[in-house]
C-alpha cells in the first residue's frame, strides 16, 4: 500500500494551498475530498443548466497577493476583477451609492449628511491604519505568549514594534477599536443612520454577534482589511466564480506533483501512540502518511475524526466549546434578466454591483435578536451581488444570477431542526424582501437555491455552516485560534496539523491559513521554507 509523506483532509482553498506548498517542497502529498468536486466553500457549481453559481463564498478581497503571485495563480487561470458601485438600501427606501470616485462619493454622502461626508475621510484613514497593522500579521504564525522560545519572543517583539509605531494615541485607539461594538465605533464618526448601517454591515457578516455586540468592530475590520491591488476594502469577483480560485490552486498543486482524490471522505484519523499515521476513508480504505493535516474546522476535526481516548484530556472539551455558530444563510437565484432596484439611477456601473439591504442599525440588530430566539427576521440583512453583470462566464448572455447572503439564519430553529418547508419559507422571506426593493423581481426568477446553516453543513461540512470555521471573537483569535496553546498549526498529536480557517488568521478566502500551516510543517521537517513570509507590497 502506498504511503504518502502528507495527507491533507479537505480540498477547500486552504487545504489545496497547504498541499501545494508541501508538494513544492518535495513532499508526496494527497488531498482527500469527500465531495465529487473540489473547493469546499470556494466553488462554482452549475446548479441550473447554464448558470454557474458561486454557491457559498461569493466575493474575494482577502486572497493574499503574495500567494497569488507565488503560486502563479494567474497562469493557472485565476483573474480577480474588482467590482464597483455597491448600493446600500435604507429602511425608508433611501439609497446610498458607493461611487468609486472620491468626489462623487463625497457628494452622495453629503446628500445624506454633510457632517458625515466630512467625517468619512477620517473614518477611512483610521480604518486604513488598523487594517495596515492587522494585515502584517496575516502571513505570520502567532507567537505563543506563554513561551520563552526565541522565536516566540522575537514575534512578540515584532508585534510590539509594529504596535508601537502607531504612536501613543493611536495605540489606545487601536485597543479601543479591537474590543468595541461596530455600532459604538461608528457613532464616533457618523450621525446618519443609513451611512452607519452601510458601514456596519461588514461587522455582522458571518458572525453570531450583532452590530451592538462588543467585538463586532473587529469583524468589520476583518472584512475590510483585504484589498484588491492595494485598494483597501475593495472586493473582487473571481472570473468564472469562486471555484476558479480553488481550481487555480489545484492546478498549482498538481503541477508540483500533488494528488487530489475526490469522493474520498475521511471516516477517521488513524492514531498510534499519540502520533497520527494516516486516515481511514468512508469506503474502508486506509491511507498512511507521515503527516496528517486537517483542513476541516476544529470542532469537526476533533469530535468526528478522532476518538476521545486518543486525545489529551482538555482538548476534547476545548473542541466542544469551540464557538462555531451558524448564523448565515445563502440564496442563489438564476434570473431571466437584470433586476432594477427602486430609487436608483439606471446606469451601467451602479445598478448591478453589490446591494446591501442593511436598513438601519436597529433593523440589523433586530435581525440578530431574532437569531437569538431561534428564528429569522422578516426583515433580514441581505448582502447581494449580481456577478453575471461583471463576469460573462457565469450565466447565459443577457441572463443573470444573484448571490444573496443573509444574516442572520439560525443553525436550528426554536421549534426544532430545519425541514425543507422551513428552508423554503426562509427563502421566501428573502425574495419577498428583494421584491419590495425591486418590484417584479419574482417574475425574473428562473431557479433558486436556498441554503440554511443546515444545507451548508450537510454539503461542505462546515460545522453549523459557520463561514469562518469558528467565530472571530478575541477568545478565538491570534494565539487563541483555534485553542489557547495551539495557535501555531501544530495540534496535540504528533505529526498532526490543522490548516483551515479555524486557525490564524481565520475565515475569508485568503489562503493564509493553509500557507502558514505549510511553513510550520516544513519547519518541523527541517526543510527549507518555500512559503512567502510576507505580503509583497510596500506600505
Amino acid at each position: 500500500m502506498k504511503r504518502y509523506d502528507a495527507i491533507v483532509i479537505g480540498a477547500g482553498h486552504n487545504g489545496l494551498t497547504n498541499a501545494a506548498y508541501l508538494a513544492r517542497a518535495g513532499l508526496d502529498v494527497v488531498v482527500l475530498e469527500k465531495n465529487d468536486y473540489i473547493g469546499g466553500a470556494a466553488v462554482t457549481r452549475e446548479l441550473h443548466e447554464g448558470w454557474h453559481y458561486s454557491s457559498c463564498s461569493y466575493v474575494c478581497s482577502m486572497m493574499r497577493q503574495s500567494l497569488h503571485r507565488d503560486l502563479d495563480l494567474s497562469r493557472h487561470g485565476l483573474l480577480l476583477v474588482p467590482y464597483l458601485g455597491t448600493v446600500a438600501f435604507g429602511d425608508d427606501g433611501n439609497t446610498l451609492i458607493d461611487y468609486p470616485d472620491e468626489g462623487a462619493h463625497y457628494l452622495e454622502l453629503q446628500r445624506h449628511s454633510p457632517h458625515d461626508a466630512d467625517a468619512m475621510s477620517r473614518f477611512q484613514a483610521d480604518l486604513g491604519r488598523y487594517a495596515q497593522l492587522i494585515r502584517k500579521t496575516l502571513m505570520r504564525t502567532p507567537p505563543d505568549p506563554a513561551s520563552f522560545k526565541p522565536r516566540d519572543i522575537r514575534e512578540i517583539l515584532f508585534l510590539a514594534k509594529e504596535f508601537w509605531a502607531l504612536g501613543e494615541r493611536e495605540l489606545y485607539e487601536y485597543m479601543r477599536f479591537f474590543t468595541m461594538s461596530a455600532a459604538d465605533f461608528l457613532e464616533d464618526y457618523f450621525e446618519n443612520d443609513l451611512i452607519k448601517a452601510a458601514m456596519a454591515s461588514p461587522g455582522i457578516i458571518g458572525t453570531a454577534l450583532g452590530v451592538q455586540s462588543p467585538g463586532s468592530a473587529y469583524i468589520l475590520l476583518h472584512h475590510v482589511m483585504g484589498d484588491v491591488d492595494g485598494s483597501v476594502g475593495a472586493w473582487g469577483l473571481a472570473r468564472g466564480g469562486m471555484g476558479a480560485i480553488s481550481h487555480a490552486i489545484a492546478n498549482a498543486l498538481r503541477e508540483a506533483g500533488g494528488e487530489i482524490r475526490t469522493c474520498a471522505g475521511v471516516e477517521r484519523i488513524l492514531v498510534r501512540n499519540g502520533t497520527t499515521v494516516g486516515v481511514a476513508l468512508e469506503n474502508g480504505d486506509e491511507l498512511h502518511a507521515n503527516i496528517v493535516v486537517s483542513n476541516l474546522d476544529a470542532k469537526r476535526t476533533f469530535t468526528r475524526l478522532l476518538q476521545p481516548e486518543e486525545l489529551p484530556p482538555r482538548i476534547l472539551e476545548r473542541a466542544r466549546n469551540f464557538k462555531i455558530r451558524g448564523s448565515s444563510g445563502k440564496v442563489n437565484i438564476a434570473l431571466s434578466g437584470l433586476p432594477r432596484f427602486k430609487g436608483l439611477p439606471d446606469n451601467r456601473y451602479i445598478n448591478r454591483g453589490g446591494q446591501t439591504f442593511a436598513g438601519s442599525l436597529e433593523t440589523m440588530e433586530r435581525a440578530y435578536d431574532a437569531w437569538k430566539r431561534g428564528t429569522w427576521s422578516e426583515d433580514p440583512f441581505i448582502e447581494s451581488i449580481i456577478p453575471s453583470a461583471w463576469d460573462p462566464t457565469v450565466a447565459p448572455a443577457g441572463k443573470h444570477w444573484m448571490s444573496n447572503f443573509v444574516q442572520y439564519c439560525p443553525p436550528e430553529l426554536a421549534d426544532g431542526p430545519w425541514t425543507p418547508e422551513k428552508r423554503d419559507a426562509f427563502g421566501q422571506t428573502v425574495i419577498n424582501k428583494l421584491e419590495r426593493y425591486s418590484p417584479g423581481f419574482k417574475d425574473l426568477i428562473v431557479h433558486m437555491e436556498v441554503r440554511t446553516p443546515h444545507e451548508i453543513e450537510a454539503e461542505i461540512g462546515l460545522t453549523q455552516g459557520n463561514i469562518f470555521q469558528g467565530e472571530l471573537t478575541i477568545d478565538q483569535l491570534l494565539f487563541n485560534r483555534p485553542f489557547p496553546g495551539y495557535g501555531q498549526y501544530r495540534m496535540p498529536l504528533r505529526n498532526f496539523y490543522m490548516c483551515g480557517s479555524s486557525t490564524h488568521p481565520g475565515g475569508g478566502v485568503s489562503a493564509a491559513c493553509g500557507a502558514n500551516a505549510a511553513r510550520e510543517i516544513l519547519r518541523d521537517l527541517k526543510k527549507p521554507n518555500v512559503v512567502p513570509d510576507d505580503d509583497c507590497y510596500d506600505e
Binding site: P145, F177, G215, D475
Partner: protein, 514 residues
C-alpha cells in the same frame, strides 16, 4: 477667603476615601457635596416615612486594605455581617442557592463543576487583584516604575502556569453565556452566576469582552464577591467614611453644589485653581479632585473651552447610559417567598440566560422590557433600623431599564413598570402586593437627578475594555491626573471602576500624594 490644599467635588464613598487619605497626610481638604447627605449612590435616604434605603443595597467588594488603613473599625464600620447567599428564585420554590460553601438546588455534576469554576476564577482574581488598587501606567510612559507595573502584571500571569495563563487570555473576553454554558447545565444557576458579570453595564449574557473582567473585579472584596449588608448597614459604612475623613481634619460641606471648577491660565498653560459653588461663592485651592463622573466633570464643571477638542469629544462619547432601575417597597410586614424560610438572601429573578438577554433586547431600542429581571434584597432583615418596628422594606435592582425611555418617563410609563414589577414579584412572593405601603421606582434618569450621576450609570461610565485600565475614562485622564494640571479624578469613572470598592478614591489619593 479660606484656602485649601485640595477641594474634592462630591462626597460619595470615593470622594470621602480620597479626602480621608489626603487629610491624614496633613492636607487641608474641603469636600463639597451637592446633596444634603454624604454617600452619593450609597447615601441612605428616607423614601417613605420611617423607611430608609440606599441605591446601593449591599457591599461586596469594599477593599479590606482601605478599611484597615483608614481604621474604619474605629469609626463603627464592621464588615462582619454574614454574607447573603445568592438565590436564583423559582416560582415553584425550587431555588438555586449559591453560598461560600458551594451551590445547592442543582445536580451533582453542576455542584462539582461549580467548585472548579470558582477555583479557576479565584486564581485569575488573585492574579489581577493587586492591580485594581494601583494606578495603571500609560503605555506611552517609560519610567521605571511604570514598566515595573507591567512587568509585575506579566509576571503574575506567567506565574499562573502555562495552562492557566493561556486559559486566562481566552476566558477574559468571553461573554458570560459562553463561560457558563461551558461549565453548567442548570439554567437558573447560570442566570444567577451571570448576574455579577453584567449588572450595572450595558451588556447582557451574550455580550463579549467585558463581563468576565467585571466579575473578577467584583470578586475582590473581603468575602470573595459575596454580598453583605454590613453592620449598621450601608449607612454605617458611609458614616464611618465621613468620620474617618472629618476625623483626619477634612471639612465637609453638604448642600454645596459646585457650579464650575475654576481654571486659570497663563502663558505656561492652564491650572485648576478652585471651585465656584451654585451660590456664587468661590473657593480657592491648590488642586481640585472630582469624584463626579467624567462627563459631568469635564463637559459641565470644567467646560470644553479649557479642554482639547479631541479629548472633549472622547469624553462625550463615553458610554454613560445606565440600565438599572431601583424599586423600593415599604412593606407592612416581612414578605414571604415561596420555598424560602426567610427572604434573607440576595434573590435573583431570572429563570435563564435568555430571560436576561431578551430583557436587554428591549432596552437596546429605548424600551422597557415586558419581562424584566431583578435582584432583590430585604435589607431590613439585616438592619432593622431601616424600617419601623415589625415592618420591612424591599430593595430591587431591575434590569434593563433605559435612562432615556422612548416617549419619556411619563407618570404612565412609571406606573406601568412599577405595576409590572409588582406582578412579577407576586409570582414569587404571593401576597406581597397587599403588604405594599408605598412603592418607589427610581429609573436611571431619576438616579441621575437624585445623585448627579450622568445617565444614572453605576460605574459613571461603562465598565468595558475600551474604557478600562489605562483607558479609563480615556487615556488622557486615566492616571487620575487630567489634561488640566491641578485637576484630578477620583470617582468610579477612573480605574478600576464603580461599585463600593473605594479603589478609585484610594488610588487617586496615592497619585496626588506621590
Amino acid at each position: 477667603m479660606d484656602r485649601y490644599d485640595t477641594i474634592i467635588v462630591g462626597a460619595g464613598h470615593n470622594g470621602l476615601i480620597c479626602a480621608a487619605y489626603l487629610a491624614r497626610h496633613g492636607q487641608r481638604v474641603l469636600l463639597v457635596e451637592a446633596a444634603d447627605a454624604a454617600g452619593g449612590l450609597a447615601s441612605t435616604r428616607e423614601f417613605h416615612p420611617g423607611f430608609h434605603v440606599a441605591a446601593a443595597h449591599t457591599v461586596y467588594q469594599f477593599s479590606p486594605q482601605i478599611a484597615k488603613e483608614l481604621e474604619l473599625a474605629k469609626h463603627g464600620y464592621a464588615d462582619s455581617g454574614k454574607p447573603l447567599s445568592t438565590i436564583g428564585l423559582d416560582p415553584e420554590g425550587n431555588h438555586v442557592a449559591i453560598t461560600a460553601e458551594g451551590v445547592s438546588g442543582v445536580d451533582a455534576e453542576d455542584a462539582d463543576r461549580y467548585r472548579r469554576y470558582r477555583a479557576e476564577l479565584e486564581t485569575f482574581r488573585d492574579a489581577l487583584a493587586p492591580f485594581w488598587m494601583k494606578r495603571m501606567p500609560g503605555i506611552g510612559g517609560n519610567s521605571a516604575q511604570e514598566l515595573l507595573t507591567f512587568a509585575q502584571l506579566g509576571l503574575r500571569l506567567r506565574r499562573l502556569g502555562r495552562e492557566d495563563m493561556l486559559e486566562f487570555f481566552r476566558v477574559a473576553t468571553l461573554p458570560m453565556r459562553d463561560l457558563l454554558d461551558e461549565n453548567f447545565a442548570n439554567d437558573r444557576l447560570k442566570a444567577a452566576l451571570s448576574w455579577d458579570g453584567i449588572i450595572g453595564g450595558r451588556l447582557a449574557p451574550r455580550s463579549p469582552n467585558q463581563s468576565v473582567l467585571m466579575l473578577l473585579y467584583r470578586l475582590c472584596g473581603e468575602h470573595g464577591g459575596q454580598h453583605v449588608v454590613p453592620q449598621a448597614g450601608i449607612r454605617g459604612l458611609i458614616d464611618a467614611l465621613v468620620a474617618a475623613a472629618t476625623g483626619a481634619g477634612a471639612q465637609l460641606r453638604l448642600g454645596a453644589a459646585v457650579k464650575q471648577i475654576l481654571v486659570e491660565g497663563d502663558e505656561s498653560g492652564l491650572r485648576a485653581t478652585g471651585v465656584e459653588l451654585a451660590s456664587g461663592e468661590r473657593i480657592a485651592a491648590d488642586r481640585v479632585v472630582s469624584s463626579a463622573d467624567p462627563q459631568r466633570t469635564f463637559l459641565e464643571l470644567v467646560g470644553t473651552r479649557h479642554l482639547e477638542i479631541g479629548f472633549s469629544n472622547r469624553i462625550r462619547r463615553l458610554r454613560c447610559e445606565g440600565y438599572v432601575a431601583k424599586l423600593h417597597l415599604a412593606l407592612a410586614e416581612e414578605p414571604r417567598f415561596r420555598g424560602l424560610e426567610q427572604a434573607d438572601g440576595r434573590m435573583i429573578i431570572a429563570p435563564d440566560l435568555d430571560a436576561i438577554e431578551f430583557a436587554f433586547d428591549d432596552a437596546k431600542y429605548g424600551q422597557c422590557s415586558s419581562d424584566p429581571v431583578m435582584e432583590i434584597v430585604i435589607p431590613s432583615l439585616r438592619e432593622p433600623a431601616l424600617a419601623p418596628p415589625g415592618q420591612h422594606l424591599l430593595s430591587a435592582h431591575v434590569m434593563y431599564v433605559p435612562a432615556r425611555l422612548k416617549g419619556g418617563w411619563t407618570a404612565d410609563a412609571r406606573e406601568a413598570l412599577t405595576s409590572r414589577l409588582l406582578d412579577e414579584l407576586e409570582r414569587y412572593a404571593p401576597g406581597l402586593r397587599k403588604l405594599v405601603l408605598h412603592a418607589e421606582l427610581l429609573t436611571p434618569a431619576d438616579l441621575e437627578t437624585l445623585h448627579g450621576v450622568t445617565g444614572g450609570h453605576w460605574h459613571h461610565t461603562e465598565f468595558a475594555i475600551d474604557q478600562l485600565l489605562m483607558m479609563r475614562p480615556t487615556y488622557e485622564a486615566a492616571q487620575y491626573a487630567t489634561p488640566i494640571p491641578g485637576l484630578f479624578l477620583c470617582g468610579a469613572g477612573s480605574h478600576p471602576g464603580g461599585g463600593l470598592s473605594g479603589a478609585p478614591g484610594h488610588n487617586a489619593a496615592r497619585v496626588i500624594l506621590s
